[in-house]
């Protein structure tokens, strides 16, 4: 089958990877590979730290997705010589004062509930692990199984893995090298069950047996048979900084931070994600103010809180500030499912702040669904939670989406 993937963010690229592994011929359309929300993301693989309270339906997805990463990284690593950006460095959850620590403790309880490894640390232990942290931190917890992946690095590796001819003895039944189209898709036409025609703003047209719609906020402005897709997605903006130490980290110079830090400081959240080259990613604001650009007040607060947590950051260089819109659904859970009126088209979008973590799960399940495979009951349950049909748009009640497809006949709301 020829599958055209709309969008080359973390979801589109991993979807293309799974589809190629299943033997499909894949074309990926995006004028700016990994340049959207993926480009901003820190890439924490921290199932519980990420969620907000009351998102019980989201936890199991995040926990399951965390388990997907080792396999993805191993597979991609076998297909390319490039680094995948995966780092198994754990998280410290810390609270600035007693009241902050109380909130962190609540988060820690959720770890335990979901069977995740979490350890209370004495302040001396925190200082021993991370001697450069502000000594006045009230306390914290270690989540040693958390990891991170640098999305920019991983996407370069994925792109390379997708572009190379792969050895079928190593990757049995693998499809051909992916074709890249650096154009934006404007509309998809065709009959309900396909084949489809994918039309780009460059005026080219691509025939497709199947289509994956993984273009984030772009999903809401497609024409043709996707014009009444009516996904309830809103842009939630985030600002994120990348700070670099003055002197490169190396054999003779240790980094000032080794664990990822999730801190609550006077009620505000900030995270610090240290890369293995010494770069520290500081994020992230959560804004619904419509500002595409970098938000001055947000950057101020991030720097304020990050420097409070790790005073040495004051002397770092601001290497990059990026602002992007995250595509967010009303319940913060992505939409992964087939379109009822065009069941050869898969939607995989709305990953919110969890895109990097959830991508391997959404991509694997979406690829299986599109290929008509039979899913395990556990996978079917996970997929059901992401059923686009669960949310009815008031404005367009007749155009709901469903996961009804070859392998999953249940329609969940």
């Amino acid at each position: 089958m020829h599958v055209v993937v709309l969008g080359a963010g973390i979801v589109g690229l991993q979807s293309a990877w799974h589809l190629r592994l299943k033997g499909h011929r894949v074309t990926v359309c995006d004028p700016d590979v990994a340049g959207g929300a993926t480009y901003a993301a820190a890439g924490m693989l921290a199932p519980v730290s990420e969620v907000q309270f009351g998102q019980e339906r989201l936890y199991p997805l995040l926990v399951a997705a965390r388990r997907e990463y080792p396999r993805l990284v191993e597979e991609v690593g076998r297909a390319t010589d490039l680094p995948t950006g995966f780092l198994d460095n754990g998280t410290l959850l810390i609270g600035g004062d007693r009241s902050d620590l109380e909130r962190v403790r609540d988060h820690a309880r959720v770890h335990t509930e979901y069977g995740l490894n979490i350890q209370r640390l004495a302040t001396q232990e925190i200082q021993q692990r991370e001697p450069f942290l502000n000594a006045r931190i009230a306390g914290g917890f270690a989540a040693p199984d958390d990891a991170q992946v640098d999305p920019r690095v991983l996407c370069v590796a994925l792109r390379d893995a997708l572009s190379r001819e792969l050895d079928p003895t190593e990757f049995p039944g693998v499809g051909p090298a992916v074709e890249w189209v650096a154009e934006r898709v404007e509309r998809v036409t065709g009959s309900a069950d396909g084949p489809y025609a994918v039309h780009t703003d460059g005026g080219t047209e691509w025939a497709a047996d199947r289509v994956v719609v993984a273009c984030g906020m772009g999903c809401t402005s497609l024409n043709g048979i996707l014009s009444d897709l009516s996904l309830d997605l809103r842009p939630v903006y985030g600002d994120i900084l990348r700070l670099r130490p003055r002197d490169p980290v190396g054999a003779d110079r240790k980094p000032v931070l080794s664990s990822t830090i999730r801190a609550t400081i006077l009620g505000r959240q900030v995270y610090l994600v240290p890369r293995d080259d010494g770069e520290i990613v500081v994020g992230a604001t959560v804004r619904e103010d419509g500002l595409d650009g970098i938000h001055a007040g947000g950057v101020h607060e991030l720097l304020e809180d990050a420097i409070t947590v790790l005073p040495a950051l004051r002397h770092f260089e601001i290497a990059d500030i990026t602002a992007r819109a995250r595509p967010v659904s009303p319940d913060d859970i992505p939409y992964v499912g087939l379109i009822p009126k065009a069941p050869g088209i898969l939607v995989s979008a709305g990953y919110s702040r969890h895109g990097i973590l959830l991508a391997p799960l959404g991509a694997r399940l979406g690829a299986a669904l599109l290929s008509g495979e039979t899913l395990s009951s556990e996978d079917a349950e996970l997929l059901a939670a992401m059923n686009p049909g669960r949310i009815e748009r008031e404005a367009a009640p007749n155009h709901s989406l469903t996961q009804k497809g070859p392998a999953n006949g249940n329609h969940h709301r």
Copy 2:
């Protein structure tokens, strides 16, 4: 005469302008026109606000330079249709608390000493003039004769004015359009009195009757007869932000700030320079830490203080953050003078934090000196204060510089 100008920052461009007005043929060499310290500068034309205490020899230069701007802007404005970026919007000097206000008062006294217009404002008057300022400001002063020029805008205008054929009835005796060489000059060779040969990193060579060395920190790494120039210049880094309002300023939307603000907040300095399109320039750090890049702690403090002064800035977009090295002499006064061992070569560098303000003075006097004109006694005195020979480098006592030239026989130390 053919004059080659090394460096197309604010000083090189204005030097080229004055030389062209005198009828010379001018070639300007720079791989990055107006891309150095000029690109960062806010462009406040505020003679006294800018200086630090104890720089008595600098004040008269700044005061004299402020008077040069109207003529420069008028001349350049006649030669091009482009805006010059000049705005006559005055400064408010404000103090955050009583102790800050005491420091501002000291600065205000210097205004009075130099005959500059300065008025004490009641806090109600400040609020009336600038209603969006933090209402808890202790007090301040108005310096209504201060102005600003947007260096990026002015340099585009200067470049255009230099590149056009000009009408000799409008500009009597004007030289031909300037020739631009987008290459870095590596060395200057030739006999003491010229002609000289200017060699670029692009491998080209330009014959020159006279040379202007106006390449800032680059002046310290020239070879040939300039290899023992031994200017005592050090890089003093600055970070500066450009913030933009969410909604463009226009007929129906007033800017949140009209005067330039120089604030002292808990002992720290910050300035806010509002452009006529609503952009607000926030600066600037003063660092000698050798970091070329953007300093995280510096940006944090600038945002902190700027938002304290003008809380609405929190909602602005960070359009730009720039870090550059200012070329600074030991006494913060530029070097403007001829090279004793090659008196056809003029040095015009080391303008420190005052480059935009001082440029028209340094450029006019330097061009006159290089052209062998007789200076007024006032001009001769101003030039004498910038005599490069005033500072002897310990390492190279025999290579001091002097302004000894056709019009100025005194050697000042």
